[in-house]
């Protein structure tokens, strides 16, 4: 079999296309651009000016209001604040995905983390520095347990992690409500206020972002991103988890305990979501909440991970993107752009990302052809 002779221009075009489709990052960028193009068209179709949307986004990202030429860094702070839990729940989803698991339970793990943080905030001695750190650690541990439980059920009893996490989301939600309402003086929606020491400090970020709600939690998020990358890409554990995710048979053949990988992976996933819960509970509020509904950070994390390709850097960027869309809403409304357009754009991006499955089939098919070609090439060279 010989290679098809293509005109060289066509061939280089095809190579470029291959490289593009083969690169998940490029595909994500394309998908996001596509989402915005569609969003722009929709804004046009309802008779509003798309420039308003982009000016609102600009203001979110830089704090600069191009209409009034006023700069206010608070918008930047709010953007980052909105992004923090999204990045973390995105990593919760992504980490499990890299091990071949579909963690739809980030919402429940987030709630468990949030609840644990609230309890430590209310009941532990108010020691400056230690108090909120302890609350954060408790949140991570409790949520790691909540996630690890799913991994264990999966490994031990072959319970589908999708079913288990959906169930545990409900359990987490009602458990949180029940426990929080047991707290003396708690009413139907809140507990007494936290002591000052339980709040994640804003320190220098407060003047820097003009009294936004941005806390030093942002550094914890960045640390988590680094940790995510380090574990998955650089450690022995990450190697085992990735091998398990890509080919369970080969992993167990190589002597990797697949059961252990699944449990550990879900525990780490849970911890990320739990930290998200603590950052919201102790960063954006100063009292414990009796949840009235899902905060939806966990579910939005699925979209974040999808767009971010479950990579550390990708999830960071995509978390910032979704955070931008969320925090730009009020600014859009003030410019007569319906705020729902941000949800439409997010939704379109997710749909386009899901189309990647189609691209994936194309890639695999091309790889097969390439492999067949490789085989014949090696035949020609007398292996």
């Amino acid at each position: 079999m010989s290679e098809t002779r293509l005109p060289s221009s066509k061939r280089s075009g095809r190579a470029a296309l291959d490289a593009f489709i083969g690169s998940n990052g490029a595909l994500s960028v394309l998908v996001v651009i596509l989402g915005f193009v569609c969003g722009t068209l929709i804004v046009l179709s309802v008779g509003r000016k798309p420039s308003g949307m982009y000016l609102a986004l600009l203001q979110t990202l830089t704090g600069y209001n191009a209409t009034s030429a006023v700069w206010n860094s608070r918008y930047v702070g709010e953007w980052l604040t909105a992004s923090m839990p999204l990045i973390l729940t995105g990593m919760s989803m992504g980490f499990a995905a890299r091990t071949g698991l579909f963690n739809i339970g980030a919402e429940g793990q987030y709630i468990i983390g949030l609840t644990a943080a609230q309890f430590v905030a209310l009941y532990f001695p108010a020691i400056p520095g230690l108090h909120w750190s302890l609350a954060l650690a408790a949140a991570a541990l409790a949520a790691a347990f909540w996630g690890g439980l799913v991994g264990w059920l999966r490994a031990r009893f072959a319970v589908s992690e999708v079913v288990a996490t959906i169930m545990l989301n409900y359990i987490a939600f009602f458990l949180s409500r029940y426990l929080t309402r047991l707290i003396p003086d708690a009413n139907t929606y809140r507990t007494p206020s936290f002591p000052e020491t339980a709040l994640i400090p804003r320190s220098f970020l407060d003047p820097l972002t003009n009294h936004s709600r941005l806390s030093v939690g942002i550094f914890i998020v960045l640390f988590c991103v680094l940790l995510y990358w380090l574990i998955l890409e650089r450690t022995k554990l990450g190697f085992e988890l990735r091998a398990t995710g890509l080919n369970r048979n080969a992993a167990s053949y190589a002597g990797i305990s697949v059961d252990r990988s699944l449990t550990i992976s879900m525990a780490i996933s849970g911890a990320f979501a739990g930290i998200a819960g603590a950052i919201v509970a102790l960063g954006s509020f100063n009292y414990g909440r009796v949840l009235g509904g899902y905060d939806n950070y966990g579910f939005n994390g699925i979209a974040v991970a999808l767009v971010g390709n479950s990579r550390a850097g990708g999830t960071l960027v995509s978390g910032l993107l979704f955070g931008m869309l969320a925090s730009a809403q009020p600014l859009m409304q003030s410019r007569q752009i319906p705020k729902e357009i941000t949800w439409i754009i997010s939704g379109l991006v997710v749909i386009f990302v899901s189309l990647r499955a189609g691209f994936r089939m194309l890639i695999e098919w091309r790889a097969k052809v390439a492999a067949a070609r490789g085989q014949t090439d090696s035949e020609a060279r007398d292996v």
């Binding site: 079999m1 080919n247 048979n249 085989q375 292996v383």
Partner: protein
């Protein structure tokens, strides 16, 4: 190379009587690959015509074009001298062309006759399916062609050989005149192969035309009159089998002289390395797949397990390598009981394992080559630093040395994705990795499945070199030729039991075939039975 028909010559206009099927200048392009490039095949009436070529030479593509599964990009097909447009298998059937696929297409819970009439059920005057009439006709056909098929037997209860004959009946029932067989002997024991060859001749005697796709030279010599050889999608030539010897056919197929005789020294036997006693292992569906099996493998020898696929080989290997729980009995290595020891510890003790399915078990296809080569050793220095961190530079370095030593062809070196490598090179990578963990014992399953001749030679040489270095090798292969060529001793397995163990030197292949079918007991044949 013997009388090759000239390509130009075959272009002459056919007279319509001599040829059953003519495929002229067939070209079929898949994206990036020309699977058939100007291939001409002319099959005489009532001949057995073999199509020979390596994996990927384009045999199956050519036959799929004839059977209507692919539309050719160029060329034309003549059936009985008339140009035919074959748009699908139904068109092919209407022209009297039938195909026995390599993987049988039978509904297992149905009877043979139900399978055969499926899709063209005969009706009686009430519109009911006329099973009795169908069965009668099938029995007649079976008698006429000597197929010995029981029309009332359920497919799941009959052996592979009879299933294949049921497939043949299915085609005959549809009044085919040209029967295409796609690698029909891959799943058969030597005895069943003999039977099939007899059936092919019987079909011919009854006036049918047979096209036999194969890469096995012996079968061609045995059954075929003429043989068309393909190489890399191109026609090499069509020869008369009687006047061409096997090595000439091999040279046409591969494109260079091939040495089929594996040269090996007589073994220098050492201590018993692997000792299996009275082993029971359950299969995936809970059935007892290995029953009371005992075996010894010594250092410096290759012990081959000969048997038809599905007789407990997979379960045995998984038990030895720690991937499957042992029900009863013991496995020990160098005198140490390892029956309950983990896969990783066994690897640490020096068991290397080349798995049966290289893509499912042997490799993480989306990992890089160096990561794949590290699958067994990533958890210890030098690849592991400070207990937790992988040293990717060391990983790439080690990959580079294995690539050089084992001649693994990978486009981007250590960074090549395993998925993009050819099957032969994937297998070389696995063998390199497993030999490199310095095993006392190499457990190898199906080392050359789906590989081309060059890669097979390379891998066989490598396995023998390891044996000569004093390693014990336990080899499972469903290709009897491979077992015969490589092994020092051969244990025949049937239904999870070792039927007998024989010295490979000068052994009669029929004897092993009989044992594989579970028919002979080693003791009766004057052989040592059980542990050697």
């Amino acid at each position: 190379m013997a009388a090759t028909t000239d390509k130009q010559d075959t272009r002459s206009v056919s007279d319509g009587s001599e040829w059953a099927v003519e495929m002229l200048g067939i070209r079929k392009v898949f994206p990036g690959i020309v699977a058939n490039d100007d291939v001409t095949l002319r099959v005489r009436r009532r001949e057995i015509h073999a199509i020979l070529g390596e994996n990927g030479a384009g045999k199956s593509t050519l036959m799929s074009v004839l059977f209507g599964l692919y539309a050719p990009d160029a060329g034309k097909i003549l059936v009985d001298g008339k140009e035919a447009r074959i748009r699908g298998p139904n068109d092919a059937r209407a022209l009297g062309i039938g195909m026995v696929h390599q993987h049988f297409k039978l509904v297992r819970p149905y009877t043979v006759s139900e399978n055969i009439i499926l899709g063209m059920e005969p009706r009686n005057f009430l519109g009911e399916v006329d099973f009795r009439g169908a069965e009668r006709r099938i029995a007649e056909l079976s008698d006429r062609y000597g197929l010995a098929v029981d029309p009332k037997a359920k497919v799941e209860s009959i052996g592979v050989g009879m299933q294949q004959r049921a497939e043949i009946l299915k085609i005959l029932y549809r009044d085919a005149d040209v029967l295409i067989f796609d690698e029909p002997t891959a799943v058969l024991t030597p005895q069943e192969i003999d039977e099939l060859m007899a059936i092919l001749k019987r079909l011919q005697a009854e006036g049918k035309t047979v096209i036999l796709i194969t890469h096995k030279l012996r079968e061609i010599k045995e059954a075929a009159e003429r043989c068309t050889v393909l190489r890399r999608g191109r026609l090499v030539g069509t020869v008369d089998v009687a006047s061409t010897d096997e090595s000439a056919l091999a040279e046409m197929m591969v494109g260079r002289a091939v040495d089929f005789n594996i040269r090996k020294k007589s073994p220098t036997l050492g201590d018993v390395v692997l000792s299996i006693r009275d082993l029971d292992v359950r299969g995936s569906r809970g059935q007892l797949s290995v029953k009371g099996l005992s075996l010894d493998v010594r250092s410096g020898e290759i012990l081959g397990i000969a048997g038809v696929d599905g007789n407990g080989q997979t379960e045995l290997i998984e038990a030895v390598t720690g991937l499957r729980r042992v029900e009863k009995g013991s496995i020990s290595m160098d005198g140490r009981d390892i029956t309950r020891v983990s896969t990783r510890e066994r690897a640490g003790a020096g068991i290397g394992h080349v798995p049966e399915d290289r893509q499912r078990h042997g490799l993480v296809l989306d990992f890089r080559l160096d990561e794949n080569l590290a699958l067994r050793t990533y958890d210890r220095p030098p690849l592991l630093r400070r207990r937790f961190f992988l040293d990717f530079e060391a990983m790439a370095e080690r990959a580079r040395s294995l690539i050089a030593e084992y001649d693994i062809r990978a486009a981007k070196g250590p960074a090549t994705k395993a998925r993009s490598m050819s099957g032969g090179n994937q297998q070389k990578a696995i063998i390199a990795r497993e030999i490199d963990i310095s095993p006392r014992l190499l457990v190898i399953a199906q080392p050359t499945r789906g590989l081309d001749v060059g890669a097979i030679e390379n891998i066989h040489k490598r396995i023998i070199a390891e044996r000569d270095k004093g390693r014990a090798v336990l080899l499972v292969s469903y290709e009897l030729d491979e077992v015969l060529a490589l092994c020092d001793r051969i244990a025949a397995i049937s239904k999870g039991e070792i039927v007998g163990i024989v010295e490979a030197k000068g052994v009669d292949e029929r004897l092993i075939g009989a044992m594989m079918a579970g028919k002979a007991r080693g003791a009766e044949m004057g052989m040592r039975k059980g542990a050697g």
